[in-house]
Structure formats: structure tokens, C-alpha cells
């Protein structure tokens, strides 16, 4: 029932995890176990599913998607 969600990195939260904020402003801690490449920097956008960051998203594309999702949610 879960769906992938877009999150922006807030800060490193120890080895292998970061604190992220979803488009509603809620903060979660997610694992980087399934993310390729270097640890993401604050401000980067990630696709998160079931507590794991699974992909990176270009900032411009992420902002556009976040705006569309906010619009469709009426927020």
C-alpha cells in the first residue's frame, strides 16, 4: 500500500542514514543502503520507499513534481 515519496535531505544522521523532509514538511530518517554513489548532501532530492532512499532526483525536476503533487493534493 505504500508509495514512493519525494524527500529533500536535511542532514546526515550517522553512518548510512539521513534525515529527510517530505513535501508536507514531515521529517523522517531513511537508510542509504540501496542508494548508489556518494552520500547525498543537504538539499538534494531523493525518492524514498519503505524507509530506504532508492534514487536521486534532479532538483529542478523534483521541485516541479513536488509542486504538481501539492497542487493535486490541494495543499
Amino acid at each position: 500500500m505504500c508509495v514512493s515519496r519525494l524527500h529533500r535531505v536535511l542532514r546526515t544522521a550517522g553512518p548510512g542514514s539521513v534525515d529527510v523532509e517530505n513535501i508536507d514538511g514531515k521529517v523522517h530518517r531513511v537508510s542509504l543502503l540501496t542508494l548508489d554513489g556518494p552520500a547525498p548532501e543537504p538539499g538534494e532530492w531523493l525518492v524514498v520507499h519503505s524507509g530506504y532512499a532508492i534514487d536521486r532526483v534532479d532538483a529542478a525536476e523534483a521541485e516541479a513534481v513536488a509542486a504538481e503533487l501539492r497542487l493535486s493534493a490541494g495543499t
Binding site: M1, C2, D55
Partner: protein, 281 residues
């Protein structure tokens, strides 16, 4: 275990009340409460739905606020459209009617009345919009033979099977296994914890299947708060993440097994070529 055997089991064990989930002779569980029992585990982990898991847990316990629970249920963006689809295809006005909720989480005859084109159109509408495809990139088509029970979403829409097949193992198999609704047999009950024996998913490099049995500890309540289900050793139960959701009647168990196997077969089947692409080639 064959689908014919499962169908025979269902016909031979039609007890379980109109919902077919609880054990025989138990009062029917209201649909919103049933929804909360299955939705609470991932909600408590922050994976889906509104950010107030305590409200769901209380609603799944005694004295639920059904209207308030209905409002919470509609905010589960993964599950809610499936409930709407199943209800619409069965001429049922309330997506939280118990039979509809049971169909989505466990499976029942209502899933067979959702036609393949209706299911494909629903999935396409939801997951092939550009904004959503960025997030749910594994959903390229509705798998042939799939039914709108929760395991279809887990196996076909989630990114984890794609990640497994690409060689990225990590937690993928564990997530797929914990998020599907699985069945198990109770071996012991101690306070909030239940010892359950169940079958885990396996992966051979391309195909998902049911694998070996394992014994695990699952929760049936949190500090005494939780679904009012009296569990005993020998009971057959449904599980979602690390929680026991309900006791299953033989008919409900048969449907859950059947839908799981059908959806495994659907995602394990070779992809059907798109006729338009074939013509171009």
C-alpha cells in the same frame, strides 16, 4: 498447492461470516476497523498514510470512531484507490464496506469481478502520469493475470522487484516479504507478542516464489492496546510487517494464498510485448 485445490478449499469452508475473515461465529468486523488492522503496521513505520498511527491503533481497538477512521482511510494514497476500484466494479457504494476491505487485503470473490482492462486502466491512470512515474518507475504495465489484492501493489508497483532483478539485493526481498500480507500459524502467545510460523519469499535471480518456513515474533498489541483478537496456539493468522492483523478462516486463508500465487505468477511471467511496438519493429 494448486489454484484448483485452493478453490476447493474455499467452497468446502464457506464459514466465517459475510466477511469470511474472522473465525466462524464471530461478529462481523466493521470495514473501517478491518482496514485499520492491516493499515496500521506500515503507518506506524511512517511508510504510508496520515502521520497519526496512534489514531489508527485506537480505532482498531475497542470502541472505534468509524467516521473518523473512514476519513483516515481515505488518506492512504496507496490502498484507497484499490478500494474504490473494487467497490465500483462490484456495484458497492462504500469503499470501506467490509467485503471490499477484505478483498483488497486478503482477497475474496470481489477481486474476480474487477476486469483486467479496468485494473489496467486504474493502474495506468495512477502510475503512468509523468509526475508519478518519476517515483514509481517500475510500473510499466498491469501484469497479466494479476488481481487487485494488496500483493499486486507490492510485487508489481513497488520498485523492489526491479531492484532485485537488477542485482541490487540489500533489503529488497525483506521489504517485499514484510509488506505483502502473509499467512502464518500461531505457536505461542505471550502478552503483546505472538510466535508465528510462516513461509518467506524467495528469489532465484529472476522469479519470486514462496520459500522456506521461518518462525518469527510478531506483535498483536502495543502495551496492551491493539485489535481485540483472542489468539491461541494453532490459530491461522494474517501478518503485515511485524504485526498480526487478524485470525483467518479456512476460506480467507485459501483466498489469501490464491491471490498471492496469482500475483506472483503475474509478475514472474515474461512481459507481453506491446503490439504497437511490435508493429513498428
Amino acid at each position: 498447492m494448486s489454484r484448483d485445490q485452493l478453490a476447493g478449499d474455499r467452497e468446502a469452508s464457506a464459514e466465517g461470516g459475510p466477511e469470511g475473515v474472522g473465525a466462524p461465529d464471530e461478529p462481523a468486523t466493521p470495514g473501517p476497523v478491518l482496514f485499520a488492522r492491516y493499515a496500521y503496521p506500515p503507518n506506524s513505520l511512517g511508510y504510508c498514510g496520515p502521520s497519526d498511527p496512534a489514531a489508527l491503533l485506537e480505532a482498531a481497538s475497542d470502541g472505534p470512531d468509524l467516521d473518523g477512521l473512514g476519513r483516515l482511510a481515505a488518506r492512504f494514497e496507496g490502498a484507497w484507490p484499490y478500494l474504490q476500484l473494487i467497490a465500483a466494479c462490484n456495484g458497492i457504494s462504500d469503499p470501506l464496506e467490509a467485503r471490499v476491505v477484505e478483498a483488497y487485503w486478503v482477497g475474496n470473490e470481489l477481486v474476480d469481478r474487477v476486469s483486467a482492462p479496468a485494473l489496467a486502466a486504474s493502474l495506468s491512470d495512477r502510475f503512468q502520469q509523468p509526475a508519478i512515474q518519476l517515483l514509481e518507475s517500475s510500473m510499466s504495465a498491469a501484469p497479466a493475470g494479476g488481481v487487485p489484492q494488496h500483493s499486486l501493489h507490492v510485487f508489481a508497483v513497488y520498485p523492489w522487484l526491479r531492484l532485485l532483478r537488477s542485482g541490487k539485493k540489500g533489503p529488497a526481498l525483506e521489504v517485499l516479504d514484510r509488506c505483502r500480507i502473509r499467512w502464518g500459524h500461531v505457536e505461542a502467545v505471550t502478552g503483546d507478542l505472538v510466535t508465528v510460523r510462516s513461509q518467506v519469499l524467495s528469489f532465484d535471480g529472476s522469479r519470486l516464489a514462496l520459500g522456506a518456513e521461518r518462525v518469527e515474533q510478531a506483535r498483536c498489541s502495543l502495551d496492551g492496546v491493539g485489535p481485540a483478537i483472542e489468539l491461541r496456539p494453532g490459530d491461522t493468522v494474517s501478518l503485515h510487517w511485524d504485526w498480526v492483523c487478524d485470525r483467518l478462516s479456512p476460506a480467507a486463508l485459501s483466498w489469501l494464498q490464491d491471490c498471492t500465487l496469482r500475483n506472483l505468477a503475474a509478475v514472474d511471467a515474461p512481459p507481453v510485448p506491446d503490439p504497437a511496438v511490435e508493429r513498428e519493429a
